[in-house]
Amino acid sequence: MRGEEYSPQKIASIVQADLERSGQFRGNALNQAMDELTRPDFSVLKQKGDEALLTGSISKLADGRYDVRFRLWDLVRGQDLGGQSYATPVADLRLIAHRISDFIYEKLTGEKGIFSTRIAYVTKLGGRFSLWVADADGENAQAALTSPEPIISPNWSPSGHELAYVSFEARKPVVYVHDVASGKRRVVANFKGNNSSPAWSPDGRSLAVTLSRDGGSQIYLIPAQGGDPRRLTQTTSIDTEPIFYPDGSALYFVSDRGGSPQIYRMPTMGGPAQRVTFSGTYNISPAISPDGRWMAYISRINGQFKLHVMDLKSETTQFITDTGPDERPSFSPNGRLIVYSTLLQGREALMTSTVDGRIKARLAGQNGDIREPHWGPFLKH
């Protein structure tokens, strides 16, 4: 793009990295600079086998913002696929690059891109824990909370504006809901004993949580503003890690009522639970794809904790990583990618994988051990 070497963010390389991480694109950088008004020489570019071309420019405006313009060309049909222009503060330049990736992804695949979504994750460094909000590529992380005590289980609200999480700063697990932009937060569950594993309902009105207030760990539904919990499970075993099926009609959760931790499904309004996992003696941490088709989860096989994916219709499963131990999978909002934490060279790190396991990428992140990712929703803008 014209002007990019003076820009604080390298728009074209961010776009290339985004699209390659999706597993559906291969990018080449041209050494020739072309802005959004230049018409490309289709015959020359097509000969190299390229199918699409991104051109553009970036310049600084008088009020300190940046003017970013781009155009996408279909080289195969010789067509202008359109473009956009943005006036943006410098702090949002990466976001604009991700919006460009989304535009390209949607024009060329017909599906919604996830590149301007955000991921929350937790780091542990020295004796301190931090909850970060980062771009979907792991970059541009900003801390929502730092604490001398652990933070686990961040979970984005359907609006993308709030994060529920468990913080141990009171020397016990308490569930908070935190408005990311303002830093205002409220306690939604601090009953006697443990309060953990928050999961937003798809309508954003309630949270499923695990509470030990009645003795063991059981699943309850609580209003998102806080209030009286309604108990959903009625066992003397451990019932935890609830998550909603995308239409809100059912909860998937972990229970050891059968003697070992397995994944079950029950109607949200209460009712008998059906077991979902039958292979192995330890299946936990379910995540459901937005189209309701896939379940990602962690299964212990030969002592190793590995990310698995189950086709919920056929109930066939496969493991998709060759690292481990894997933890806490979370789907991207277009259902195409899974983010999870694993151990790489002795450090906890975040990876994304396509649902079939073919294309994987390590996410950039903060220093320290990185864990507990959760992928945020599409934002309305």
Partner: protein, 177 residues
Amino acid sequence: MNKTLITLTLAALLAACSSPVKLNEVPVEEKAGVALAAPSEQAPPPPARSAVAGIDARPLTGVAPGPEGVTKVIYFDYDSFVIKSEFQSVIEKHAAYIKQDSKRRIALEGHTDERGGREYNLALGQKRSEAVRKALNLLGVSDAQMEAVSFGKEKPAVQGNSEEAFAKNRRAEIAYK
């Protein structure tokens, strides 16, 4: 279009300005409830949409002593939530101490070794702290003076993944408030 990789060419950048643009990095500050603000030059640029306001949690203070010379840590076997007989006298001494003063408050903090998922281990740790709570309760300690909680695998006493480290982390701790 889904099966084949789409190849995309990205045109490189041309120099547009003759003078380099000053980098305007926004430092991340962690003040409670304060939105991040960029240093202003002439007219302040419009606020960024991706702003995240940070909170810094302070450590809790206030720990009271327990009975002198009595350990506050009870260890458990793998996959077990049963208090071994060797800890029975420890529990009895704590029960006696707590019952001396109805204002005494304790938290029972359950822990696991580092194998397995965080939330499931939180629940397993809870079974350990619950076991100690029940044992104290049987000896006459009031529930109003106790709270059983868990840290799961989040606060190991010993780092590492040897059997020795695992054994030192499977525990319940009695914390006087």
